[in-house]
């Protein structure tokens, strides 16, 4: 009898659950393909109020985060009263208000300006889960506000993607602003340009050492294209390779012990490895064709380079140790300036088609080739950002050649240098 009762009880309990059968559904793309972000202006806490500080911080942060392509900014015109409340603790933030505006993430901050001393405190909140994600307090001078904003943009990307942004780095490039082609350095948004050389000659092909303390470049200062090395902080400069003929396209190995470059000391341009003192250690290529533009793989075991050994110039990959060389590109009549991505999965290069140069990327096995730049003008000299999210390049689509940046998928292109002067050969520094 007890058993019967138990069965009846079981049936009574199971009945509703059997009626409620689960339905399978599939959602194969998000409704919104960006993170809704509310970016508020910095609010003054004490000392002098400076709308310029808040405006500059907001402008830089907005530009950096916009370039990342991750966010959709909630219109500042829609902000309610919490945008004017100083509270930076999660208990002080009115999350329902931000959620009502559709924001998933929120950036709030304060600043205090005492004379020239500036303290900025910025925080990133998760609106949905009502918690603080990250925050940082920056202490510096009034002129450092742009650097603070770049640093916070890096922090935001690190928190949301797991990988730090590249906005605190710098970009080296060649420009004729001063009349001659000299080496310049600027922020990743094109601001604060700084001239590094005064060779009054032709400087070209800069590249940063993997730790970012030095820059390699070629200069015609001694009427021969020689390879130079320059310490960024001290300004010390040394000629490393000055063999007869070409000493160009120097690229330091990831271990900083060797430099790959093109030498034509024996007549035909070939790729060599030299020590940091300039002594030749190894000849990497040996063919009748012209071999140039080496680019290291992130692990330092391979080099991508350009060669016309099979006819037209194409991208090849060679193993440093075994010497095994494979052709990577098969299309186009003229391929040039390969650049290996920091993640090691893709190689960016330039290809001439229809009389115009454009930027392409391809997997290291030659598959999935994609054209990234379109429109008028020539786009050349692609180089990766240290996180592989962006590509910088030079283009003359607006008249004079200028430096541009775009996302690694070719979207979001924007000009960094003005079109008054001629700027080319950009190189993105490692994170500092």
């Amino acid at each position: 009898m007890l058993l019967r009762g138990f069965i009846v009880c079981l049936v009574c309990c199971a009945l509703p659950w059997s009626v409620m059968a689960a339905t399978d559904i599939e959602i194969s793309s998000p409704g919104e393909q960006s993170i809704p972000l509310a970016l508020t202006w910095l609010l003054p806490t004490q000392g002098t109020q400076s709308a310029k500080v808040a405006a500059e911080f907001n402008e830089v942060l907005d530009a950096d985060l916009d370039l990342s392509g991750l966010f959709r900014f909630v219109s500042q015109a829609a902000f309610l009263d919490d945008a004017k409340h100083i509270g930076l603790y999660s208990t002080q933030v009115n999350f329902p208000q931000w959620r009502m505006l559709g924001a998933e993430t929120l950036i709030k901050g304060t600043y205090s300006l005492d004379g020239e001393k500036l303290v900025v405190e910025a925080r990133l909140f998760d609106v949905v889960n009502r918690r603080l994600l990250t925050g940082r307090r920056y202490v510096g001078e009034r002129k450092d506000v742009r650097r603070m904003a770049h640093a916070f943009a890096d922090l935001v990307l690190k928190e949301l993607t797991g990988e730090e942004g590249p906005f605190s780095a710098r970009i080296a490039y060649i420009s004729n602003q001063s009349g001659d082609k000299e080496l310049w350095l600027m922020d990743v948004d094109g601001k604060r340009p700084l001239r590094l050389t005064n060779h009054r000659s032709i400087v070209l092909n800069p590249d940063f050492s993997p730790r970012g303390k030095e820059i390699l470049f070629t200069s015609y200062r001694a009427n021969n294209p020689d390879l130079y090395r320059k310490e960024i902080y001290s300004g010390k400069e040394a000629k490393i390779s000055y063999k007869q003929g070409l000493n160009v396209a120097g690229r330091m190995a990831p271990n900083e012990r060797e430099i790959a470059l093109t030498l034509s000391k024996d007549g035909n341009p070939e790729i060599y490895l030299i020590g940091t003192s300039g002594r030749v250690r190894k000849r990497v290529t040996n063919s009748w064709g012209i071999d140039s533009d080496p680019s290291w793989s992130p692990d330092g075991s391979q080099l991508a380079f350009i060669s016309n050994r099979q006819g037209n110039p194409h991208v090849f990959i060679t193993d440093i140790f075994s010497g095994k060389t494979e052709r990577l590109t098969r299309r186009g009549k003229y391929n040039a300036t390969p650049a290996w991505s920091p993640k090691g999965d893709r190689i960016a290069f330039t290809r001439q088609e229809g009389g115009r140069f454009d930027i392409y990327t391809v997997n290291t096995d030659g598959s999935d080739e994609r054209r990234l730049s379109f429109g008028p003008g020539n786009s050349e000299h692609p180089r990766w950002s240290p996180d592989g999210r962006f590509i910088i390049y030079s283009s003359d689509k607006a008249g004079n050649r200028a430096i541009y940046v775009m996302r690694a998928d070719g979207t979001g292109a924007r000009r960094l240098t003005n079109a008054k002067s001629d700027s080319r050969h950009p190189a993105w520094s490692p994170r500092w």
Partner: protein, 280 residues
């Protein structure tokens, strides 16, 4: 009142199994009462099932007229579509089709002299050229969009025709795929699916492009009849923290549906980025 039934009750009461039976009965009744009180079976108090509206343009259903009780036969003749296509496709061709070229060379009509094109005075300004180029691109794009719209319109017209009197059924309620004929809108599951998707925000730059086609997570969501999320569980996480976090946020944002449901609803949701990968 006779005494016999009372006696019978007393003897029955003295039976030792009576207590157990009573206990079992009490538990069973209690469970049923609990099930109804937490709205496990849904309420039957509403006179009519609720109406779910979704954006049918973005979320078309497979067969929106499935529940319609009595579709009327097609009234529209096919000529209407033909007329439209002729009008849109080649309006200039229809001009004076009756007169064949009887006097083709007598009066060749006035040849409109092309206006003299102003010669480029000096050097072409590159900016101007770019402006013209961009304007041309814009015009081309607009034309392409227009052509696309026309094609869609034609397609819709054809669909309307093939569906018979679907558009003229003012007196017949519009059905839904699994409806009975007196509901408007689409299925409840599709409605909830669209709501969750709408709340799911994820940037393609958060996911490694090589993984985008394979990334997948599975979750179970249970909604009460009031449209409230009772519980959820991520059964199979994707392994990508950003992806999984975005799902959790989407679920939290979808914890209250804008409409009640006809009954309790359990969903096994598979989240992936197949559409995104397709566009990649």
């Amino acid at each position: 009142m006779s005494v016999a039934p009372l006696r019978q009750f007393n003897t029955f009461h003295s039976d030792p199994k009576f207590g157990r039976l009573l206990l079992v009965s009490l538990i069973a009744h209690g469970l049923i009462w609990v099930a109804f009180s937490i709205d496990l079976f849904g309420t039957n108090t509403r006179p009519k099932p609720p109406i779910y509206y979704v954006d049918l343009i973005h979320k078309p259903v497979l067969n929106p007229q499935a529940g319609r009780p009595d579709p009327r036969p097609a009234k529209k003749p096919k000529a209407a579509t033909v007329k439209r296509t002729v009008q849109t496709a080649a309006p200039t061709v229809t001009k004076k089709p009756t007169k064949p070229a009887v006097k083709p060379l007598v009066k060749p009509a006035k040849v409109v002299k092309p206006k003299p094109v102003p010669k480029p005075t000096t050097k072409i300004d590159q900016r101007k050229e770019q402006k013209v180029q961009s304007a041309l691109d814009e015009i081309r794009e607009r034309q392409a969009r227009q052509a696309e719209r026309d094609a869609l319109k034609d397609k819709l017209a054809k669909l309307r025709d093939s569906a018979g009197a679907a558009t003229v059924a003012a007196d017949v309620p519009v059905g839904m795929p699994d409806g009975t004929g007196d509901e408007a809108g689409i299925a409840v599951v599709a409605f909830v699916q669209a709501f969750i998707q709408q709340n799911w925000a994820l940037s393609r730059y958060l996911i490694d492009q090589s993984r985008i086609a394979n990334i997948e997570a599975k979750a179970t969501l249970v909604y009460s009849a009031a449209g409230k999320l009772i519980r959820y569980r991520i059964n199979t996480p994707s392994g990508n923290q950003q992806f999984d976090d975005s799902l959790k946020k989407a679920i939290i944002k979808s914890q209250q549906l804008p409409q009640p449901l006809p009954k309790i609803l359990e969903l096994n949701v598979t989240f992936n980025l197949k559409e995104m990968a397709g566009r990649n």
